[in-house]
Symmetry: D2
C-alpha cells in the first residue's frame, strides 16, 4: 500500500472533478441548449483519450525498435502493444455506432456554433498518422491546402517535430533489413526463391503446351498470362525494377526489407519466425482497422451532412474516403501476398539454417544445440 | 456562425488541454512508473464520461415521463434516448475487451498503489442504477456492509437525493397504469384475456383426456401440468395473488401496470401500440445489456485478480456476479412472456376499440374518423 | 403439441444429417487435404444461409409495399424486417473477422483447386442487390464483361426475372409519392419550405453585408458562397433541375418522392411520421451496412491475394472497392441531409394539419378528434 | 488448376442446392406457416456449421498435443487454432443479437410444433464441451436427469466415445507437467518462489508492526490478514493441501501442472515462454467466451419464454445460468492469478537458465549458444 496523508479515492485517481467539468456545450453558452451537443463532445473527448493511449503505446513500441537490436523479449512486448492498439481502434470504430444515434437534424441544432472548429484540428490524430509512418508528401490535400494548415501554430510545430523523427514504418524497415537468415553462408533466399518461382511457372507453361484440349489461341493466351506473372515477380527479384516502382509510389519499403518480410511470411512456422510473423500481421491489422475506421467515418459524415462542407470547411465525405484509399501505412505488406507461392512449391530450408532457427535450451550451455523439441514439453 | 472574439478551435470546444492533463499515474508519482496504469486510468475515465452521457439522457427521458401525460412525440423522443443508452452500454461492454489487454501481472505492477480506491466509489454508476430504479433495499450488500458505505460523504448525500425522487421504473409504472384501452366502456382486457386462457387450457385438457394413446398415468400427469399452468396465470389475474408475490419479491410492478404491459405486448401491431411496445423492448434492452456488462465484468475481475479481494477490499468476482443476478431493474418485463398465449388463441379487439387505436388524419378535420390506411401512403 | 408418428428431434428439425454432410473439401477429393478449406467452405455456406434469410425478409417487406396502401401495422412489420436485415448484415461483417484467421499462405494450399469458382457466382447475393434496387445499368462491370456473364445460365434467368419486378427502391419511391400531408388544402410543403430557405439565406446575406469586421473582398466571398447554397437548393425545388440531375445520375428518386422524404425527416417528431422516419433510417442502415461490408471485404481480399486476380479471374480488391463506392441503393437518402435547415428556421405546420397527424382514439368515434395525449397514457 | 471434366462452380463447391433445401419449416408442414421459423432454423443451422468448424480445429489441436513432445512449430499451430475457435465463439455470441429480433410472440407462433425437440439434443455442442474437458460428473443435471438422457441413442454412443478419450484439458495438463525449466539442476522453482512469497509477506508484516499510526487492534487485524494470505499460498506450495482442494473440486489441474502454469505466467517475457503464455491465455479466452455465450443465451431464453419451461421441457434460464457458473473448463487458470506476486518481488532466474531459455541461432552450429539478440534482427 502506498504511503499517503489520506487514502486515495477513485475520484482522485481519475481526477473526476476536472474530467467531468470539461463538457461545456457551446449551445448552452449561446443560450440555446442543444441536447445532442453533449454526446458530440463526449464522443470526441473519448476519441482523444484513446488517441492518448495509442500514442503512449507507440512510445513504448518505438523505443523497442529504436536501438540496433531487438531481442525476443522486446518483440513480445511490441506485439502486445500492437495488439492493444488494434483493440483500441476497434473500439473507435464502435464509437461511430454511438455517434450515429445523433440524426442530421439534431446535429443542425448546434452545428453552426462550432464553425470553424473541426476534427481536422486534432493534433493527436495527425501525430498518430505521422508516428505510424504517413509522410507529409503522402497526405491527401484538402481544398488545395495542406491539411496541417488548419492546425494551430504550436500544434504545427509539434507535428513537424514528429515528422523529423523516424516513424514506426521506418523502424520496421530497419528491423527487417537487419533480419539474419535470408543471406547466410551458402544460402541466399532471394536466389533460391527466384529459382523456385521460375521452375513453377515453367512447369505451368509446360502443362499448357502439352494440353491437347486447348486451341492454339488458348495456349497463346495462357502462356501470355504466365509471362505476365513472371514479370510481376521482377518487382521483388530485380533491384532496378524495385527502384522504379518506388519512384512510382507502388512500393515504399526497401528491396531488402521486402525480401525479409516475404521470407518471414513464407517460413512463418519456423520457431524463430513466429513472433516476427505475428508482428507483421499486427501491423497489417493496425493499417486495416485504421482504414476501416476512415471509411466508416466517411460514410457517417455523408449521412450526417450530405454534400455540404464539413464543420471545418471540408467537403468531408470525399476527402475522408480518399484518405481511406491513400493514407495506407503498411500497404506494402498487403501487396506482398501477390508474391507468395504454395507451400508445395516452396523450397525447403537448409538443415543447419533450420536448426539455427529452432530454440535451444541446453542446460548449462555445455551441450549446445540440443533442440528443445527433442526434450518435449513447453 | 456564432459571434466570438476569435474563432472557436476544436481543442477549445473539447477543452483538450484540461482533459488530456487528467491522466496522472500514481505509479509515476511514486517513482516507479507502470506502463499499464495509463490504460487503466483512461478506460475508467472513458467509463465515467459515458456514464455522464447516460445520466444526461436519463434527465430528458425522466422529464418526458414526469408529467401526467406523455404524448407520442414525447414517446418517440424517449425511445430515441433509450436506444442511445443501449448503444452506449454496448460500447461499455466493448471497453472490457480493451482493458483485458492488461494482464494480471501488468496490473500487479501498480495495484497496491491504488488501495483503497475502487470502482465501488463511482457515484455516477450508483446514480445510474438508482435513477433506473434499483432501490437501496434491493442492493446486494458487500462484506456485510451496504455498498454506499464506501462512498465519500458528499457523494452519499447526492445518492440519497436521487433515491428520494421517482426512478424511471416508478415513472414507467405510472405511465403503464395510465394506459387507456385496457378498460374502456364495454371492454375489460383482464376479463377477456382470462377467459381466453381458461378456454385454451380447457381445450388442451380435453385433448389429453380424449387421447387414446395416453395411459391413465400419463393423462394424470399431463392434466396436473395443465393445472400448474392455470394456477401460474393467477399471478396476473388475481390481485391477492399478485400482492403476495410482490411481498415475496417475485413481482415489483403494480397489478394494473403488469396488465397494461401484457396488453401492449399482445397487441403490439395495433398502430397506437407500436411506440409503447418499442419503449418496453428498449427498457428490456437496457436491463439485459447492463446485466451482460455486469457478468462480463465479473469474469474479467476473476481473470485479473483470481480469488484475491478487489482493489476496494471486495471479493470482487462473487459480488459482481451476484449483482448481475439480483440487480435487475425491469425483470418483470422478462417474466411477462410467461403469460403470453399464441396469436391464434388471442381474442380479437372490439371493432370500435381497434378503430380508436388507429391513426386518423382527416384533412381539415371535417371528415372525422377517416382512417389513414384508407387513403394509402405513409 | 403437433401430431406426429414420433416425436420431432432437434436433428430432424434442422436436417442436420444433410446439412453437415455438405462440407466436401476439394483438396481432400484431390488427395492433398488443406485444413483451412473447411473454414472457407463453412464461412461461405453461412453467408448463403443468411442470404436466404435476407431474401425471405425481403419477400415479406416487398409484399407489404406491393399494394396501393400501406397501413401502420404493415409499416411496423416492414421496419421490423428491415431491422432484422441490418442485424444479419452486421453478422456478415463479423464473419470476415473469422475468415481472416486464414492467412494468405493457408489459402494458397487449396486456392488453385477452386478455379474458376468464385463468389461472383453467388446468385443469392445478386438477387439481394437486385431486389433492393440495384439496376443492371448501375452495375460496375468487371474485366469489361457484365458481372452476370459469370452466372450459370439458369441463374441468369432467375436474375433477369428479379430485375423485371419492382425493387424495394421502386416500391419505396411509390410509397413516398403517395405520402399525404405534403400537399393538402391550403398547404404546399414545397412552397412553404422554399420560402423558409430563401428567407434564411437572405438573413444570412444581410448579416454578412452589415458586418463591419469584414473587408469588401470577404463580403463578396461570403455572399458568393450563400449564392452557391441557394442554387444547390434548386435541385430540390426546381423540377427541371431535378430532371437534369437524374440524367447525370446524381438523383435517382423522383421529384415528389424526394420532397416527401425531406418532409418526413424535417417533421419526424409528429406522431404519424415516426414510423415513416424509422423506415427511412432503416433503409439507410441497410445501405450503409452493405457498403461497409463491401469495403471490408475488399480490404480482406487485398490482404489475402494482394494484386493477384481473384478466384474467378477478378482483380478482386479494385472491383470490390468500386462496388462499395458505386453500388449504393439509397444514396439519395444520404444526400438529402444537404437540404435540411435547422429546426429554429423550420416553418411550423398548420394547426389542422398537425392535428390530423396526431393519433385520435375517440371512444366510440362520436367525439371525433379528441387527442390521445389529452387523456394521458400510452 | 485442378483437372476436372467441367469447371467447378461456386454452387458445386458449397453444395448450395442441398444446403439451401435443408430449411423446412414445421409450421409450413402443418399448414400454418410462421414467418420467424425460417430465422429460427437458419440461426441454429449456422450454430451447427460453426460447431463443426470448432470440432475440426479441435482435431488438429488435440493431434498436436497427443504425442510426448510438442515443438514450437506445433505450439504456433495450436495457438492459431485456439485463436480461430475464439473468433468463432465471438461470432456465436453475435448470432444471439440476430435471434433476438424474434419476439416472444413471434416464437409462440410455432413453438408448440417443435416439442420435444430442443437444443439439449445438439450432439456437436456436447462433443465440444467434452473434448475441451468437461467431465460427465461435472455436468449440471437437469430435471434430476443427466443431460445426455435427452440425446438419441446413437448420439449417446458417440458422446461416450469422446468421453473415453483424453480431453484437451487432460492434454494441456500433461504438456504442463512436461515443462522443463521449473526443476533443473540447481534450480527448483517452487522452492525459490515459496521463499520469495514468505519474504514478501514478512516484510509486509514488519511494515505493519513498525507503523506508529496503527492502533494495536489495527495491527492485529492487518497481521491476521497477512496470515490468511500466507495460508492461501499453501494451496500451491503444499502437495497435501492441493490434494485436499482437488477433492473439494476447488482445483482440477495436478500440482505440478499448476506450478508450471504459474511459472509460465510469471516469466512470460522470456523468449521460450512467450508461445506457452499465449497458449494459456488463448485457453482462458475459450473458457471466458464460452461462459459469456452461456450467460447471454440464458438471458435471451428468459426474455423469450419467461418462467415457462424450455422447448425440451427445461426450465431453461436457470439451468443455462448454472452451466455458465459451473461448466468452466479452465477455471484453474483464472484462479491462478491469486498466486501472482508483483514483478518487483519476483526472484530472478539463474543466468544459465535464462540463457537456455533464449533463442540460439548460431550460424552453422559451430559457435553454439550465441544469442540471437546479440546479433540484432528478427
Amino acid at each position: 500500500m502506498a504511503k499517503r496523508d489520506k487514502p486515495l479515492t477513485y475520484a482522485e485517481h481519475l481526477q473526476l472533478e476536472r474530467l467531468l467539468s470539461c463538457q461545456q456545450r457551446q449551445s448552452e453558452l449561446h443560450g440555446r441548449p442543444a441536447h445532442d451537443e453533449m454526446l458530440f463532445i463526449v464522443v470526441h473527448q473519448a476519441y482523444e483519450l484513446w488517441f492518448k493511449v495509442i500514442l503512449f503505446e507507440l512510445d513504448r513500441i518505438q523505443d523497442i525498435f529504436s536501438g540496433p537490436r531487438t531481442d525476443d523479449s522486446g518483440l513480445g512486448a511490441a506485439i502486445h502493444g500492437v495488439t492493444r492498439i488494434v483493440e483500441v481502434q476497434k473500439l473507435l470504430i464502435h464509437q461511430l455506432d454511438v455517434l450515429e444515434t445523433m440524426t442530421p437534424m439534431d446535429f443542425l441544432d448546434f452545428r453552426d456554433l462550432l464553425v470553424p472548429a473541426s476534427g481536422f484540428q486534432s493534433l493527436q490524430f495527425r501525430l498518430i498518422e505521422t508516428r505510424l509512418g504517413l509522410r507529409p508528401a503522402e497526405r491527401v490535400s484538402f481544398d488545395e491546402r495542406p491539411v496541417d494548415a488548419r492546425l494551430e501554430p504550436e500544434d504545427r510545430v509539434r507535428l513537424r517535430a514528429a515528422e523529423a523523427r523516424p516513424s514506426l514504418r521506418d523502424q520496421i524497415e530497419d528491423w527487417l533489413e537487419r533480419t539474419p537468415f535470408i543471406q547466410v553462408s551458402g544460402y541466399d533466399f532471394r536466389e533460391v526463391y527466384r529459382q523456385a518461382v521460375v521452375d513453377m511457372l515453367e512447369q505451368d507453361a509446360a502443362l499448357v503446351r502439352d494440353n491437347p484440349m486447348l486451341s492454339a489461341a488458348e495456349v497463346d493466351s495462357e502462356l501470355a498470362s504466365i509471362e505476365v506473372s513472371r514479370q510481376r515477380f521482377d518487382s521483388i527479384f530485380d533491384e532496378a525494377r524495385h527502384r522504379a516502382l518506388v519512384e512510382e509510389g507502388a512500393w515504399r519499403l526497401s528491396w531488402r526489407a521486402l525480401q525479409a518480410a516475404l521470407f518471414i511470411n513464407l517460413y512463418r512456422s519456423e520457431p524463430v519466425l513466429q513472433l516476427p510473423f505475428r508482428l507483421l500481421s499486427g501491423l497489417m491489422d493496425i493499417d486495416e482497422t485504421l482504414t476501416n475506421w476512415r471509411y466508416r467515418h466517411a460514410l457517417m459524415v455523408q449521412r450526417m451532412i450530405g454534400r455540404k462542407v464539413g464543420t471545418g470547411g471540408s467537403s468531408g465525405h470525399d476527402y475522408l474516403r480518399r484518405t481511406a484509399e491513400l493514407h495506407r501505412i503498411f500497404g506494402d505488406l498487403f501487396a506482398l501476398s501477390t508474391f507468395f507461392i504454395p507451400r508445395s512449391r516452396l523450397p525447403g530450408l537448409p538443415d543447419d539454417l533450420r536448426r539455427a532457427m529452432g530454440y535451444s535450451y541446453a542446460q548449462g550451455g555445455a551441450q549446445g544445440g540440443a533442440r528443445r523439441d527433442a526434450e518435449g514439453g513447453a
